[in-house]
Symmetry: C2
Subunit: 260 residues, 2 copies
């Protein structure tokens, strides 16, 4: 398969860096093709501004989504964004590997999504009418591709458990897994989380790595997160609220958007 | 009072820009002192790397939290971070104003937290023993200060309602309100949300602005989000799981960390 790894850590000698390099080596040995976008080494521009839109007219008011749409439709995005979109088009599987910093992805990766996910490409796509509210949440440009997060966490697993003070890890990641990855149509696999990486020795590193490589080796058997598709009957149009009674008893919040 | 506004939008002529400027004008007219950090116009560096730590030795392995701690304790952070920390020390109220991009803050603001929230300052502070797990979640450097998010959202309110497809807005913002603001001790006020800002005319702008200014004029009467303090009996030490029975019946996820 074709694997695109988007890597966001400042230090290649880190747990994350070693993990990424070992993943690449393993995948290539198994005959897969791998491309890596190493955002720190590439100095990936991670702030959206008017320079991202080559048809922006100086002095105009910058409306980000609108300008993104114009640049997208007129072929006036920047070379780094086109190159990244080509890597996404090429890939069967995209791995996003990053440390959880302040309970979400690092800024450099957040800005990557802001710039690469242009309007008319990742959002603002498809018919909006009384039966269909855009190609999103189960449809879109990433349909047929898989995505997985490989995340390192400094804190303890219990702090991210269902009653843990940080909130459950699946809820902390939901704005990424559901709202960023599932949104343009990725099939999202359960995230690979390594806790307490600051204290990890060789054993902890190898245990985590081997579990991840095992997932990759058996990727076709991994059951994706069962997010509900938007346009196929589960949601009221166009309030996009889940129809009454579809959730489990007492289920609330993010959880109702995952089929049990 | 002393108000520090951290503003993250590329366009000053935007809804956000006009909103921020009108807020400053109003507060100053009422006799308050205001400082603004306009992250885009300041070209605020928003990627954490070794250049943030003036005592980092070239060739060393960068361990971000550890190096942050060393630079923090040895006075080797950068001038922009010290200036920002001084503004935070000065403020009674901090307003974070930004558009919700891909369901969280813009990268430039995320990176602001990564750089300004140094180790030994915003985290890694206080005793860690069997009764106290650091000064955090209700204690810390921001204790006694208020914070509020002023957020604009492109989508419809129903999409962010309890059954809305994006997830409830309070849950989407919890990783910020609880895990970033409450963490170092801010008293966090309910977020001010404006929906469908791309379609907003003068009336919608003024309605939202006036509601926000009314909140600011009556800030002492605004009831903060009742997040539970970490070190005062509600959590098991040191698994930091909420003690059984403290939540409401059938309450799960992020909600259990808010007292009813």
């Amino acid at each position: 398969m074709k694997v695109f790894i988007v890597f966001a850590h400042p230090e290649l000698k880190s747990f994350n860096g070693s993990f990424m390099k070992a993943t690449v080596e393993h995948l290539e040995k198994k005959g897969h093709e791998v491309r890596v976008s190493d955002l720190y080494r590439e100095h990936f521009k991670c702030v959206v501004d008017e320079k991202d839109f080559l048809n922006f007219k100086d002095g105009d008011r910058l409306k980000v989504a609108f300008q993104s749409y114009l640049a997208n439709s007129e072929g006036k995005l920047t070379e780094d964004v086109y190159r990244t979109q080509a890597n996404l088009a090429w890939a069967d599987l995209v791995i996003f590997q990053f440390p959880l910093w302040w309970y979400t992805m690092p800024a450099i990766l957040k800005g990557w999504f802001e710039r690469v996910y242009t309007c008319g490409y990742a959002y603002g796509v498809g018919v909006h009418d009384e039966t269909h509210y855009g190609d999103r949440f189960g449809e879109g440009v990433m349909e047929g591709k898989k995505a997985i997060l490989a995340v390192t966490v400094g804190g303890s697993k219990t702090h991210y458990s269902p009653r843990g003070i940080n909130g459950p890890i699946d809820h902390i990641l939901f704005p990424i897994t559901h709202n960023i990855l599932y949104y343009p149509g990725f099939t999202v696999l359960p995230s690979h989380i390594t806790y307490e990486t600051d204290k990890a020795g060789d054993k902890e590193f190898n245990d985590s790595l081997n579990a991840f490589l095992n997932t990759l080796d058996n990727i076709d058997t991994v059951v994706p997160i069962a997010f509900r598709r938007q346009n196929f009957g589960d949601y009221e149009m166009s309030s996009l609220q889940l129809k009454e009674g579809l959730e489990q008893p007492n289920e609330t919040g993010f959880d109702i958007h995952i089929k049990k």
